[in-house]
Symmetry: C2
Subunit: 385 residues, 2 copies
Amino acid sequence: MPRAPVRAIHMLDSETVFMLPGPVKMDPRVLQAMAAPAMNHRGPEFREVLAELRDHVQYMFGTKGEVAILSGSGTAGLEAAVSGILRKSDRVLNLVNGKFSERFADLCGVFAASTPLTFEWGMAVDPAQVDSALDKGDFKAVTLCWNETSTGLTNPIADIAKIVHDHDALFIVDGITAVGGLESRFDVWGIDALVMGSQKCVAAPAGLSAVALSDRAVGLLHSETSFYTNLKAHVEGLKKQDTPFTPAIPIFLAFREALRILKEEGLERRIGRTHRLAEATRAGLEEIDLDLFPDPRYASDTVTAIRYPPGVDDAKFRRVLREEYGVILAGGQAQLKGKIFRIGHMGLCTFGDLAACFTGIEAALQALGHRFDRGDGVEAIAKRA
Amino acid sequence: MPRAPVRAIHMLDSETVFMLPGPVKMDPRVLQAMAAPAMNHRGPEFREVLAELRDHVQYMFGTKGEVAILSGSGTAGLEAAVSGILRKSDRVLNLVNGKFSERFADLCGVFAASTPLTFEWGMAVDPAQVDSALDKGDFKAVTLCWNETSTGLTNPIADIAKIVHDHDALFIVDGITAVGGLESRFDVWGIDALVMGSQKCVAAPAGLSAVALSDRAVGLLHSETSFYTNLKAHVEGLKKQDTPFTPAIPIFLAFREALRILKEEGLERRIGRTHRLAEATRAGLEEIDLDLFPDPRYASDTVTAIRYPPGVDDAKFRRVLREEYGVILAGGQAQLKGKIFRIGHMGLCTFGDLAACFTGIEAALQALGHRFDRGDGVEAIAKRA
């Protein structure tokens, strides 16, 4: 039954099911942490915050190596990694199979010599093609968007990492919607730089990014082409509980609280839960005759991208969902606008959230003419909870 | 009388007088705005936030021209201005007379061809020397730190602006601790780019910067050397109520609330109050035999820098102040570390805050051996309230 009265909502309230692929719903403890009064970012309390955050961030990345936290979105973290490690003349192979990997390649073009290797959106990066491109070109580095949020696809990072390593290239990875939601083997895979965003699997507010670095990457850090995102300055700052520039203090406090919550749950359990939610999502979709957008073998565990069935209009569907059922989902971006919708099920998402989300999806789809057995999607989810 | 029990505090609580030169104390409305649940930054509500913010930011800058808001500290805003307007080969004259103008010159060195023109710390930039430097060199732009927070000095911006204009150079100004606290005549003076920070005179949390641009500057914007701080993308985004990258949503909400509060007070009244607070601070200091650090003719209205009297130790003074009297002040930076302390009296600072601050200062100074007539400083402040 639609809720009454109908109202436009885009914020999580007690009746809203907020399931974007980031930002995601936050724990009240995280919101509370943010509302703290002014704090001296050069005083001993904030140094304690930074010391605790450094430990938590290493735990989250699964590394004992150097990490940095930047006051800026995931893109700022990617810029820090690329501009800090590479130089203008360095050739970098950008693996592109969606909007975010495309943006990553654009970013690389500003700070290094970028060569995109493109794949169809929705198809995984093919390690064999990476191998052959690296054989042919003299590439200093390879960039990968591990989890392509725009297509709901997880690239085969372990296989790609092996090939990058065989060619002795640096491996710079966008893990913005992966870290804290997908199993990460930073040291084992030999990633040189891995970037995450605060508003994704960790369920903190938007505004921070973090970077993990290999020793090799740390050794290469320079300050020639960046200033605000100067990774060398950020790494050295954090080691002595400092930041090179004024940090976004409230977001640091919220990030700490979100990472405490992650640690309380345990990284492995968080990743396991995210996987089970994704499997339930995929099972539910199958029951209501919806198709995944990406190659199902590479469907992401943190965000699911779904093709619209014929005749269902994106704007209408998401408006009905939002206004009548309080469910906030994302549409497609760029060439996928109007063709897909996306469900984020990372962070603190529960089976209850997913059931509520599907309740809305089923009602809205039926109202817009898609035919299926109503309730079967939710049932499939409930069975897996 | 010292408070009991003695405790270390660096955060504003009901007993703390928080008077750093930024971040500054925030209104509870601002804190509350930050604690909002997750919001879709691509949804209609956030577009409304951005539309309202654009108006407020134009009001704050005193311009009807283009503005941008970046998720990053004031340094990010400076980087956006420099990297967006200038090119690597452009010669830029950096006027340096303190730590922040020095940093500004360092930043310029990454994105343009920087030539610093230095003045003694605590002395104002001398317009005649700027004139002669511009006569000699072929400079495309001049940078100025309008209010040098590190030395508590306001540079004679109007005189410098005239000279920059006479030489047809671009004028890029760090107004981080000036905008919203000092009278700004953006259009009249002919500033090409003016940058502010959210945690200063506007009394929002740290994490955002804003930039105002002349039409000439807008016409020059390019994307060659920056990505995250790409000013062109930020200006064009904000015009259509969008951001090029995920914004630090909670800080945007808090910034909006702080700007609403500024508008309620009125920019002119805020600036007038800031001036009266600064005059009272200076009068109070004279009464207790303390000297300003900068040339008094250029003493800043938003932050006052004070020389320590002989024998008073910085660390001890500020620890006693903080632990026994709940007063948080800043020390000196770089070459001024240990030599000065600084009082921020921008934003929502009141005469009551200032009286409380001086009550602590007088007690701590006396405890540490400085001799003066106790109570005279506070009296001078009270008389001006």
